[in-house]
Symmetry: C2
Subunit: 202 residues, 2 copies
């Protein structure tokens, strides 16, 4: 199984490592690192990249940025950039890869705990995560050729110690556990599922 | 109570009429009709308008457009325009009105049945509605000065006969019933609620 991992950060690296351990043929894609480079806000660049990969069976996305600030202090640019990156960036990946992914292939996107839980400045993050989850649930009903799509919703990562202060009382989750969920979603007949790795569930 | 109704279509007109019947002081705002005109994708214009209204107690939004097409046929522009209009347009209204709305005021936004139900081409609509609902649920936890925010999720309107063909087997809802939900949300201590007026609930 040929797996494309988009995102070379903590989660993307863990997913790539685990998928390789599981015997998959892994290709990594980052904005400025990985086997190939692409900016997920650029649909033309994504289309070009996917057309050149000679087919693939799974795309796992662990990319996209979200600003964080109390709602009243968020700016137009923070909203626009967050929508363009983590929300539309992931939707761009699915839409542009559709003509090139093999039959019965899978997409695995990433949302996050803030779609369900709140912190003192979570509205922007919650909104972005809701975009991704809403898209995944509905796209699962529209995909053809036995394609599947799922979403991983991690809590704050154990490894992201700088962020722990923004999640007081929340139990961090190790990236290796998040990676398991990605491989679970891509390797089993899941579709339209939101796999949660955060407080509400463990 | 001074109520601003944004949107002069079937729902907005019904909300304005019912709010007036309930003794409220109603101001209507449309893109090209109503007491004042504004484009909700233009945050500078919104800010200017709200600053000139001398305070208000409630904003009810029934505006914003979403394109509809099977996922594989949706275009970059359809996604961008839908996000800018019904999703970010409503978020723009809340963000720009925040400094001007009176204490204990309320926002009532609109999503729609597709965040929960599916039709044969619902992914774009589902995603947009999920943006609005995710925003409302989280913003309710962040608003200060006893401000409240809720969301109305209507099914296809009885009056929108052209759209009935896209919702086979779905029971339409009259705009007058949707208007009741808006007035219920603005007049009672609701916050963070999604009031559903569609099949799943009646």
């Amino acid at each position: 199984v040929k797996v494309i991992v988009i995102g070379t950060g903590t989660i993307g690296s863990a997913v790539a490592a685990l998928a390789a351990d599981n015997g998959h043929d892994v290709l990594t894609i980052g904005r400025s690192s990985g086997d190939h480079q692409v900016d997920i806000t650029d649909t033309a660049a994504l289309r070009r990249l996917f057309s050149e990969l000679n087919g693939f069976d799974a795309i796992a996305v662990a990319a996209g940025e979200v600003f964080s600030a109390p709602l009243a202090q968020t700016t137009d640019d923070q909203w626009a950039d967050s929508i363009a990156s983590k929300a539309m960036g992931q939707i761009n990946v699915v839409r542009t890869a559709l003509p090139f992914i093999n039959d019965a292939g899978s997409f695995t996107l990433v949302s996050g705990i803030l779609s369900e839980e709140v912190t003192s400045a979570s509205t922007l993050g919650a909104t972005i995560n809701s975009v991704v989850e809403g898209f995944v649930r509905s796209a699962a009903t529209e995909l053809q050729r036995d394609l599947r799509i799922n979403c991983i919703s991690p809590g704050v990562l154990t490894e992201s110690t700088d962020y722990h202060q923004f999640f007081p009382g929340f139990e961090p989750v190790p990236a290796a556990r998040v990676a398991l969920a990605y491989v679970r979603a891509m390797s089993n007949p899941y579709t339209g599922r939101i796999l949660k790795l955060h407080n509400a569930d463990f």
